[in-house]
C-alpha cells in the first residue's frame, strides 16, 4: 500500500504531532455533529464549550463543502481547527483539533469577569484551573497546523490554500492568511483618504470605510485578531484627533474625544464591535470639525458665548447670566445666537451638556445621579428622560454599550 492510500495512518501521525507538539486534542464527529472519538480527558466540558461557541453548528454547516480547513473561535478566545475527512470505504466525518487560547491575556480577561460575578471562590478556582490547563497556540501556528492537516488528509499541495475563519459574533466567514501579503501602500492611501474626510468635516466617507474595514489585521503586533484591530484602531484614534485639530477643532476638545474612544476601544471584545466603534469615532470627529467650521462663520460674540458655555457646564447657566457675561441684553443675545447657529441658546446649552455627559458616562465611574448633578440637570429622572430623547437610549444603556457590555 502506498503512502497516498494510508489516510488513517497519516491522520494518526497528525494526531500525535498535534498532541505531543502543541498539547492539542483531537476529536472526530459525524456529519451531524455526534462525537465518535476524542483523546481529550475533559471530553464533556470541552465538547459543551465547542457547542457553546457555536463551533459545532458551524462545523456541521460545512458538511456540503469540499475538504478545506476551517478555524473556529468563541467568545472566550478559544480556537479550534477542523476539516472534513472523506475517503472511499470510510464514513464522511469531521476532525477537530483543539481547543487552545491564542494568548494568555484571554484568561486574565475571563478572571476579571469572574470576579464580578456572584459565584464562589471554589467555582472560580475550578473553572480557571481547567482553562489554565489548555494550551496556548498562536494563529500562525494554527495556520501551519491547518496546512499540515489538509496535506495529510488530501495529500495535495497547500501552497495557495485559503483557510476559512468562522467568526461566531457575526456568523460570517472571512478568508484568512491567503498567499496575499498586506498591501501597506494601498492601506496607507485609504487611511489618508479617511483622514482627509475628517479634516474636511465631510461625512461622505462610507465607501472608503468599507474598504478600510477589510484592511488586513496583520502587522499590528497583537497576538490575536481582536488585539490587532484594537492596536490599529488606537493608532487611528490619535491620527483622527490630529486630523480634527487640522480641521480647526480645539486641541482640548479633540484630545477629550480621543481619550473617550481610547477607553472604549480597550473595552471591546470583538472585531465587529471594534469596527462599529471605529465608525462612530470617525463620525464624532467629523461632526466636531463640521461644527467648528460653522462656528468660524459666527460672530465673535456668539463664538465667545459658545466657549463660555463649554467651560462652565458644571455651573448653573441662565440666559440672563450669559447675556450679562457677553455684555448684551438677554433678548438681543438669544436672537443673535439663534440667527447665526440655527439653534436656540437654551437648546445649545442642553446639547453641549449631553455631549459632555456621554464622555463622563463612558470614561468615568461617576453614577448617573452624580453626572446629572455635576452637569446641572437637577434630578436623575429629568437627565435620563432628555438623554433618552437625545440619544435614543438611556444613560445606563449607553454606558453598558460603551463599556463593551453587549455580550451579556
Amino acid at each position: 500500500m502506498s503512502v497516498q492510500d494510508c489516510v488513517e495512518e497519516r491522520l494518526l501521525v497528525y494526531l500525535g504531532i498535534a498532541y505531543h507538539g502543541y498539547g492539542l486534542w483531537t476529536w472526530y464527529f459525524s456529519e451531524e455533529g455526534e462525537l465518535y472519538y476524542t483523546n481529550c480527558p475533559h471530553e464533556k466540558e470541552l465538547q459543551t464549550f465547542f457547542y457553546l461557541g457555536k463551533c459545532l453548528d458551524y462545523a456541521v454547516s460545512q458538511k456540503d463543502q469540499p475538504e478545506i480547513p476551517f478555524l473556529m473561535s468563541d467568545s472566550l478566545g478559544l480556537v479550534w481547527l477542523g476539516e472534513y475527512v472523506a475517503h472511499p470505504g470510510m464514513e464522511r466525518r469531521f476532525m477537530v483539533v483543539g481547543p487552545a487560547f491564542q494568548d494568555r491575556s484571554s484568561i486574565f480577561g475571563i478572571s476579571d469577569e469572574l470576579a464580578r460575578m456572584n459565584i464562589t471562590q471554589n467555582l472560580q478556582r475550578e473553572y480557571l484551573g481547567m482553562l489554565r490547563e489548555l494550551p496556548v497556540v498562536s494563529l500562525q501556528q494554527f495556520h501551519s497546523l491547518a496546512k499540515s492537516l489538509h496535506y495529510v488528509n488530501c495529500f495535495v499541495d497547500t501552497g495557495n490554500l485559503e483557510i476559512k475563519l468562522q467568526n461566531f459574533e457575526t456568523d460570517k466567514e472571512r478568508k484568512v492568511w491567503g498567499s496575499k501579503p498586506v498591501d501597506y501602500e494601498q492601506a496607507n492611501h485609504r487611511e489618508k483618504m479617511l483622514l482627509q474626510f475628517v479634516r474636511d468635516g465631510n461625512p461622505g466617507y462610507g465607501d472608503v470605510f468599507d474598504i478600510f474595514s477589510r484592511f488586513e489585521e496583520e502587522g499590528y503586533h497583537g497576538q490575536s485578531p481582536v488585539r490587532n484591530v484594537k492596536n490599529r484602531t488606537l493608532i487611528f484614534a490619535d491620527q483622527c484627533a490630529h486630523a480634527a485639530m487640522d480641521g480647526g477643532v480645539p486641541v482640548n476638545t479633540a484630545k477629550e474625544i480621543e481619550k473617550e474612544f481610547i477607553g472604549r476601544i480597550e473595552r471591546q471584545r470583538t472585531v465587529t464591535a471594534l469596527t462599529n466603534l471605529c465608525r462612530e469615532m470617525i463620525d464624532t470627529f467629523i461632526s466636531q470639525v463640521a461644527r467648528h467650521q460653522t462656528d468660524m462663520e459666527m460672530s465673535k460674540t456668539v463664538r465667545e458665548c459658545c466657549t463660555y458655555i463649554k467651560s462652565h457646564l458644571s455651573e448653573p447657566l441662565t440666559l440672563k447670566g450669559l447675556a450679562r457675561q457677553m455684555g448684551y441684553t438677554e433678548y438681543y443675545l438669544t436672537r443673535k445666537f439663534q440667527k447665526e447657529t440655527g439653534t436656540k441658546l437654551l437648546d445649545y446649552i442642553k446639547e453641549t451638556r449631553l455631549d459632555y455627559a456621554r464622555i463622563l458616562l463612558s470614561t468615568t465611574n461617576l453614577s448617573i445621579q452624580q453626572i446629572s448633578e455635576k452637569l446641572q440637570f437637577g434630578t436623575r429622572n429629568y437627565f435620563t428622560r432628555i438623554f433618552k430623547e437625545y440619544m435614543g437610549i438611556s444613560p445606563m444603556e449607553y454606558r453598558r454599550r460603551a463599556w463593551g457590555g453587549q455580550e451579556e
Binding site: 475533559h42 459543551t48 457553546l52 469572574l114 460575578m117 459565584i119 464562589t120 467555582l123 475550578e126 473553572y127
Partner: protein, 82 residues
C-alpha cells in the same frame, strides 16, 4: 426548582435553555447561582459537567412555567421554590 437526571445530554439541555423565554438559573448547592441565559455563565455551567457531584447536587429554577415544561425531559425530581 428541578433536579437533573444524571444521564442528561448537556448540549441538548442548553439548546432547550436557549429557547426559553424567561430566566433559567442553576443553583449549585454550594452558593453559586448561574443565569443560564448569560454566555459566560453557560461556560461555567459547562465546566461543572465534569464534576458530577457539583452538577447532580444542583437545582434549576425557571422563571416561566412554560420554560419548565420545555425542560421536562431532563428532570429527575422537583421541589417547591424556596
Amino acid at each position: 426548582m428541578i433536579k437533573f437526571r444524571e444521564d442528561v445530554n448537556l448540549i441538548q439541555f442548553l439548546r432547550e435553555v436557549e429557547l426559553c423565554d424567561g430566566e433559567v438559573e442553576f443553583y449549585s448547592g454550594q452558593g453559586d447561582i448561574l443565569n443560564l441565559k448569560s454566555v459566560l455563565s453557560r461556560y461555567l455551567f459547562a465546566a461543572l459537567t465534569g464534576k458530577k457531584n457539583l452538577l447532580s447536587g444542583g437545582w434549576i429554577r425557571c422563571e416561566k412555567p412554560e420554560d419548565r415544561k420545555r425542560l421536562d425531559q431532563f428532570i429527575k425530581e422537583e421541589k417547591e421554590d424556596e
